[in-house]
Symmetry: C2
Subunit: 151 residues, 2 copies
Amino acid sequence: MRWQDLETETCSVARTLSVIGDRWTPLILRECFFGNTRFDAFEKRLGIPRRVLSDRLKMLVEKGVLRREPYQGHARRFDYLLTERGRDLRPILLTMIAWGDKHMPMAGGPPRRVRHLDCGAVMTPVLHCSACGGAITADNVTTEANDSAAA
Amino acid sequence: MRWQDLETETCSVARTLSVIGDRWTPLILRECFFGNTRFDAFEKRLGIPRRVLSDRLKMLVEKGVLRREPYQGHARRFDYLLTERGRDLRPILLTMIAWGDKHMPMAGGPPRRVRHLDCGAVMTPVLHCSACGGAITADNVTTEANDSAAA
């Protein structure tokens, strides 16, 4: 498997990694979910080299995860905004947070709390089955080849 | 932020990325969840360079995600088995699958189907709130700094 082939692999993990499969990209997305939209803010908050940030933002726009809009009075400066496709990446980041909180805990508790606005509680997102609504555990789920899928 | 500092960052996304934040590692974990345990199987199925695979497996053992056990009759060959910490990474892979299936679809449908063994259905894992049980959407969740956490 070559990296440039990831997005055409017959595996949805590989295809997703073709978009978020480096260390910086999930952190850029984290900043987007925090509400940050500008190159300078990403650079300052992440300490990411400008060239790398520029490449990643370009890729995320090309992949349809972010869209860019010129901001008022600046023909060549842009806000980077999450598209629906980008916003749908949130569950991946939320499950990353849950794992990090549990398995790489910090003194004083988790660095950020996740709040469910519908009920107002600080909570941990957990996976449920879309069919029966029951909880998904490490032991009660399996994946199997879908023979009808094109190779 | 330097990469070697990721695991001590005050962010659970960053801390998780210190374990799975490259393209190969989630694919190695995918193979582990498929039930593969051996170096040669990982190498053959992924086409991963041996040196890279060796480094990643060593890292995953050091991080407590995999444990290795000598296999019968071979003092220097090992099975690589998921620990509980490793098995808890499954939700991250499942949410990656869900995103890839939705946003990078293939002709003929998703390459793998995810089955919930409790109810028997092929399903999509969805995130729910651990407090109220309600669904989590892109719009009804927020994160906030936990001021009691150590910086």
